[in-house]
């Protein structure tokens, strides 16, 4: 007869994942509010959008950047699978995910510099205000998630990763990756 009490039952949801999910749900509402406000202002604007004198957003270049972010999400999924087999195997795909995510953030920064030079600032129009607010809020989340992923990567590389930390970081990065196509569709297109 097997003694089942000896085995510790698996948790319904690890604390790290639950905490991150609660945070992500709140952040989804935050972005939903921002995008809703943007939609109302854009629909109620008189004349063309973007307003006259304001540059058009670089949708084509950003589509390429969007692909890099989606690839980063795929790399993280791959890293997680490899981690379940053997933690050391996750180091490379996780590094690829971080690299692609960092590329996304840097590309966004370059795009911002270009738009600022063209006259799109926070105060130039409602278009500029919403653009920098929504895309900037997303970029802040992306940077925070990259820092967490880097901590996870270092933990795996040194063999000191806290249990379920990877899963929490994964939820956060998937949120960053999943939110971006919605922002891209509503703001850039």
């Amino acid at each position: 007869m097997r003694v089942i009490e000896e085995r510790r039952p698996a948790p319904v949801l690890p604390s790290q994942v639950l905490g991150m999910l609660i945070f992500v749900l709140a952040e989804i509402m935050f972005f939903a509010g921002l995008i809703s406000a943007y939609m109302i202002v854009k629909a109620g604007s008189v004349g063309s959008w973007p307003p006259p004198g304001q540059p058009r957003l670089p949708a084509e270049e950003t589509a390429f950047n969007t692909a890099a972010l989606l690839l980063s999400g795929a790399a993280l999924w791959w890293a997680r699978r490899a981690y379940r087999v053997a933690p050391a195997r996750a180091v490379r795909p996780l590094l690829a995910a971080i690299g692609l995510g960092a590329f996304f953030v840097i590309f966004q920064g370059v795009e911002w510099v270009s738009l600022l030079r063209q006259g799109l600032t926070v105060t130039s129009s409602a278009h500029g205000s919403f653009f920098y607010l929504i895309v900037g809020a997303h970029a802040l989340h992306a940077i925070a998630a990259l820092v967490i992923l880097a901590v996870v990567w270092a933990g795996i590389a040194q063999g000191k990763l806290v249990r379920n930390q990877f899963a929490g970081a994964q939820v956060f990065w998937y949120f960053v990756v999943g939110m971006w196509p919605i922002i891209y569709y509503k703001v850039y297109l």
Binding site: R2, P14, L25, I28
Partner: protein, 97 residues
């Protein structure tokens, strides 16, 4: 009816009347959320869509989380039953290392 009861009743009626009168205030303030932008159909549609989104999103998110948790509980119950029957051990929770 005692004096205390009468006072209590009058107080309740006064509070109810005061609370009821508050419902008349929105009419006086012309509380129309789309009056400043509702000059075209596009802005009205945008307002309705965003209202629907912001109304439905929270129950959908919370409902989705409950649904996922309920499935996970059911899954764990089945695993425990299998374990008791000496079939195979418990599996890992999603995201568990």
């Amino acid at each position: 009816m005692s004096r205390h009861c009468a006072e209590s009743w009058l107080r309740s009626v006064a509070v109810a009347l005061l609370a009821g009168s508050l419902t008349l205030l929105p009419r006086a303030s012309i509380a129309c959320a789309v009056c400043f932008t509702g000059k075209n159909d596009e802005s009205r549609v945008a307002f309705i869509l965003t209202t629907a989104l912001l109304t439905l999103l929270p129950p959908l998110l919370i409902g989705g989380a409950f649904w996922r948790l309920r499935r996970r509980f059911a899954e764990l119950d089945r695993e425990t039953e299998r374990l008791r029957a000496g079939d195979r051990p418990l599996t890992e929770a999603p995201g568990e290392s």
